[in-house]
């Protein structure tokens, strides 16, 4: 059952250098209980996509220039702020990369979990306390009853991210958006948080969008993957297929440029150049200036997403030809 569908979404920002599109023509859908990985580097538009879905971008300067976000039968991009407020929490919840700046430093962590519940459910003070304690225990805060009164600065980075998850999951959302949830954490803590997210998905049956630049995080968690580059989708496929048979040269590059523990490489396969400045993006395929397979036709126009398999799409005019290589 489709829980979320994003259709032709374009989000633009007004800047001193004119209007810049951060997200362009992005479409995807997500079933209940499914985990979608959105992969991209800085400036790819992955976080803006998430914030547009959540309705958290200040408008202006941001503007949904076209397209719509449909969640559980409602068109979110047309909802009033007050109605959107009711979706955030029980409908869609989000955790951010920086747990320190996302938590309020002057309220205890217990109070912050209770605040979320209080905003959405009519509960007695006792029930609020019990439900919050239960959530903190569920996300693995040790001696949670004693820590309810602790403030964010008293916690480690990993524990803060657990508290963020407790707040996000307090109202049992049907969709959780995790924006780089483990980027600021050590690998040992990253493994704990990813395990925890998967356990909570199994328990609550919620859908998850994991936004990351780390292909390893995708390999560990996602059912399906969407790759973004410079504001546009370049490839979408089920996770195993994407790793086995990447079609877009950028996806191939991302998979090859990171050294893995299992293989020895004499030299890493580097992607030359850098990500384009959003105000000065190349015409045509945005990856073409860095692409080893680029031909003159690549600069002629933006390649459309084409299906190479019912579930596998890529935006590269040479994808079919390169698929055999």
């Amino acid at each position: 059952m489709t829980l979320l569908s994003v259709t032709n979404l374009t989000t633009a920002f007004r800047t001193s250098r004119g209007e810049i599109t951060a997200v362009e023509n992005v479409s995807f859908s997500l079933d209940a209980g499914e985990i979608l990985g959105i992969v991209g580097e800085s400036g790819s538009g992955k976080s803006v996509t998430a914030l547009t879905i959540m309705g958290l971008l200040p408008q202006p300067p941001a503007r949904v220039a076209s397209g719509e976000v449909r969640f559980d039968g409602q068109v979110l991009t047309r909802l009033s702020d007050a109605r959107m407020q009711r979706i955030r929490g029980p409908g869609i919840a989000m955790v951010f990369q920086e747990p320190m700046t996302s938590l309020n430093p002057v309220f205890s962590i217990g109070e912050q979990v209770m605040e979320t519940l209080r905003a959405h459910e009519r509960l007695s003070q006792r029930a609020l306390y019990d439900r919050s304690l239960e959530m903190l225990e569920k996300v693995g805060i040790p001696s949670a009853a004693r820590r309810m009164g602790d403030y964010p600065h008293q916690l480690s980075g990993g524990q803060r991210q657990r508290v963020m998850l407790a707040i996000a999951l307090a109202c049992r959302p049907r969709l959780l958006i995790a924006d780089e949830p483990t980027t600021a954490l050590d690998v040992t803590i990253q493994a704990q948080i990813l395990d925890l997210m998967m356990d909570l998905r199994d328990e609550f049956g919620m859908a998850i969008i994991v936004i990351t630049h780390n292909m390893g995080v995708v390999a560990e968690t996602a059912d399906r993957v969407l790759v973004m580059y410079a504001g546009r989708m370049v490839e979408e496929a089920p996770v195993a297929r994407l790793f086995d048979k990447p079609l877009h040269p950028y996806t191939r590059g991302l998979l090859e440029c990171v050294p893995s523990l299992g293989q020895d490489h004499d030299r890493l396969v580097a992607i030359p150049g850098a990500l384009p400045d959003p105000a000065r993006r190349p015409s045509g395929c945005r990856y073409a200036p860095r692409c080893a397979y680029a031909i003159p036709a690549c600069s002629a126009g933006i390649p459309p997403l084409e299906a190479f398999d019912p579930n596998h799409t890529a935006a590269c005019i040479r994808a079919a030809e390169l698929a055999g290589t």
Partner: protein
């Protein structure tokens, strides 16, 4: 195999304010505690560990950017812990550092040429055509076009800034370079460029590296040997193949087990459960007694709580500090 660096008993305590108003109470944070480490000429020694384990402090101690609380560091045969300011400055030509954050490490008001020239001027060169020529040669070496010399740091991407930082570190022709997380702030598609550049420069210039990073994949790729640090102590050292295929210390095993898989078919959830670490790294202000890892170690025994394990050599070139081994 000559040793470029030999450090013994290396210790760094930072005094931390711990309350008190009329009488300031301080306690010492033992960032690096009684560490012995050798670095062989021409090799890359990787240094890994969780944040707060003291790896950056150790890197800075080895080139005496910060003075040690105790211990000796022999660099190229000289005990640099005893050197006075003038002699130390002379030695600094041979020891340089590349920092993690290419945005914070470059002075925004200086042009690229001035940034790369500054170390030369400090060490007595005059700002003439010859010095400019050396800067131009450095730019070419790190893969930047000569025309960028009049530009300022904000005009560059992260990867290009890191190239400028590398040029600045190498312009004095050092023997030893501490690379402190040089790629972790960069986009993944750019990281490989910088890793390749560092390897090329090592080959061309005969450099010795200490490569500090938390990304175990990058460390494995670039290093000859790897040292693992936990709460101010080195717990294991081995050549990289041995360390990654046959780790001895439970902490090393846990670190490797925590690395995300390379392909979804190897998904590790549940499978590596027994190696998963629980909890966080304890505070270096109050490190656990005995083996510092015992609070998170799945194999902890009573002795681990009481006695600190000594470093032993279970095989030539291999060191480990764990009561389970030996």
């Amino acid at each position: 195999m000559t040793k470029l660096i030999e450090a013994t008993g290396l210790t760094k305590h930072f005094l931390v304010h711990a309350g008190g108003f009329l009488h300031r109470n301080t306690i010492s944070l033992r960032a690096v505690d009684d560490v012995a480490i050798d670095i062989v000429t021409g090799e890359t020694l990787g240094l890994v560990g969780e944040s707060g384990c003291g790896k950056s402090t150790l890197g800075r101690l080895l080139i005496r950017l910060i003075p040690p609380t105790a211990g000796q560091i022999h660099f190229d045969g000289t005990d640099i812990t005893q050197l006075g300011a003038a002699a130390l400055r002379e030695k600094r030509r041979s020891m340089q550092i590349i920092f993690q954050d290419p945005y914070g490490a470059l002075n925004p008001r200086m042009s690229v040429e001035d940034i790369i020239m500054e170390p030369l001027l400090i060490h007595g060169a005059r700002a003439g055509a010859e010095t400019r020529g050396r800067v131009a040669a450095m730019l070419e070496l790190v893969g930047l076009p000569p025309r960028v010399r009049d530009r300022f740091p904000h005009e560059f991407s992260g990867g290009q800034r890191q190239r400028i930082g590398i040029a600045r570190a190498l312009v004095l022709h050092p023997k030893f370079v501490v690379c402190d997380e040089p790629v972790s702030a960069l986009d993944v598609s750019v990281q490989a460029q910088i890793v390749n550049l560092l390897q090329d420069l090592q080959r061309e210039l005969g450099l010795t590296y200490l490569f500090i990073a938390h990304d175990l994949g990058v460390v494995k790729h670039i290093s000859n040997r790897v040292a693992v640090m936990y709460l101010g102590k080195i717990v294991e050292v081995a050549d990289k193949q041995t360390l990654y295929t046959d780790p001895l210390h439970p902490y090393t095993k846990a670190l490797i087990a925590a690395v995300p898989v390379a392909h979804p078919a190897q998904r590790s959830r549940g499978r590596k459960e027994q190696e998963r670490l629980t909890g966080d790294i304890p505070s270096a202000l109050h490190p656990p007694s005995g083996c510092r890892f015992h609070t998170r170690c799945p194999h902890a025994m009573p002795v681990c709580r009481e006695q600190e394990p000594r470093i032993i050599e279970p095989a030539p070139g291999r060191q480990v500090a764990c009561h389970l081994i030996g």
